[in-house]
Amino acid sequence: MNLTLKVWRQQNPSDKGGFKEYKLSGISADMSFLEMLDVLNEDLSEKGEDPVHFDHDCREGICGMCSLYINGQPHGPTQTTTCQLHMRSFKDGDTITIEPWRANAFPIVKDLVVDRGSFDRIIQSGGYVSVNTGGVPDANEIPIPKIIADEAFDSATCIGCGACVAACKNASAMLFVSAKVSQLALLPQGKVEKRERAEKMVAQMDEEGFGACTNTGACSAECPKEIDLSNIARMNREYFAASLSTEKS
């Protein structure tokens, strides 16, 4: 395959940045999108140019590290992670525009690499279950209905890649935060702290400068893990219930 790439190049966070065009030839349809970028970077390195910086880690679709806004969609045209996107999704002669996630809360580090530390800080604010020290509890001590366990697991499949924020016209993080609120609120171990958790995580989300939700559903439609919009409704319920019921601080 022969391709034309239009890649966002930006030296550093304060650089204005701009698109640069690259021609690639001999790309196999069986390559993953990241392998195609590896080919580009090898070319650039051989020419003594600065390779294109992009995030990646496991390349198995489970770590949430890869990003890229490809031809107007996060993770490209298929509902998967960029590492699981293959070049057979494109045609010979295609022009592919590659942009970084665009959000105030995801500042660009370099080229296509963005800082998703805001997600970490949201998790730190309440996305956990407090565990007391002591004896190891029995694994089957608390019965959990299969249907609830499955629902919690569905929410927990969120890998925190940020495609929801990238897809949302408001750069809203509602789908991510709601998945994290849900996976714990559904289970008995997490239920104890669900009210405070919802309040703290929403407050942190707002502080990071993410947008509000218009319920367009773009986040869920682009989510590589197909996190459902019902999570956002659950977060709203938890948040409103929390603000009505938690003790005054």
């Binding site: 698109f19 107007g72 665009r102 218009t214 409704a233 409103f240």
Partner: protein, 227 residues
């Protein structure tokens, strides 16, 4: 900050206000439509005129109408606040965007649709509400009681084809706004369940088609009757 203002100032709280005021305005549309359909009753406006008089004098209706104005303004003001916040959340946009792949046009255009509805409301209130309240309205007598002939004002206004077209187009805009807004309000309130969400979505779509269509029918029928 008190817990109330803290909640209402969060992004979720602002959306809650949008949803609650939106749902109130949806209820208002039903009442408004029910009253206005009397305009096309074949009784030369008698039932409409009596109804309009009741609406203008009943103290309970007065309170609700003030609330209604308040909620329209609140809905619009919060829309502006949220839109500004959302724009700030993505200062630099994408060069290429395929938003049509993941969301409906109406869901992405609520702001512009709402603005058009707001402009319609200004014209609408100037043409009817202001005219009936502060303008010169002819009187009409039914069974010895005299009423403002509101029907005559409306019927005269709808003889202008441009006015009729403006109304019909505005109702189309309202239809798109409702097609997203109705179901969206329930989602914001946290009402999402496999048992009833499909019903809410269908109801919302039916509402978005039927209510604006019936509203649009009134000026069309009155224009045809008058010409």
């Amino acid at each position: 900050m008190s817990w109330v203002s803290k909640t209402l100032n969060s992004t979720l709280g602002k959306k809650l206000l949008m949803a609650l005021t939106g749902l109130f305005l949806i209820l208002f549309l039903v009442v408004h439509l029910a009253g206005n359909l009397q305009l096309i009753f074949p009784d030369e406006g008698k039932s409409f005129n009596i109804y309009a008089e009741t609406m203008a004098t009943n103290p309970l209706i007065r309170v609700v109408s003030i609330l209604n104005f308040g909620f329209i303004l609140l809905h619009a003001v919060y829309a502006v606040i949220l839109t500004r916040h959302n724009k700030k959340s993505r200062p630099i946009g994408y060069a290429v965007s395929k938003a049509s792949e993941n969301s409906t046009w109406s869901s992405r255009s609520m702001g512009i649709l709402g603005t058009l509805i707001f402009i319609f409301l200004l014209v609408h209130l100037r043409g009817f509400w202001y005219e009936l309240k502060f303008g010169e309205v002819p009187m009409v007598t039914y069974d010895g009681v005299s009423y403002k002939d509101s029907f005559a004002i409306v019927s005269a206004a709808y003889q202008n084809i441009l006015y009729v077209i403006f109304y019909v187009v505005s109702m189309g805009v309202l239809a798109f706004h409702l097609s997203h807004g109705f179901a969206s309000a329930f989602q914001t309130l946290g009402i999402n369940h496999t048992k009833y969400t499909p019903f809410i979505k269908k109801l919302g779509l039916a509402f978005a088609i039927i209510v604006p269509a019936l509203f649009a029918l009134i000026p069309i029928v009155m224009f045809i009757q008058g010409s």
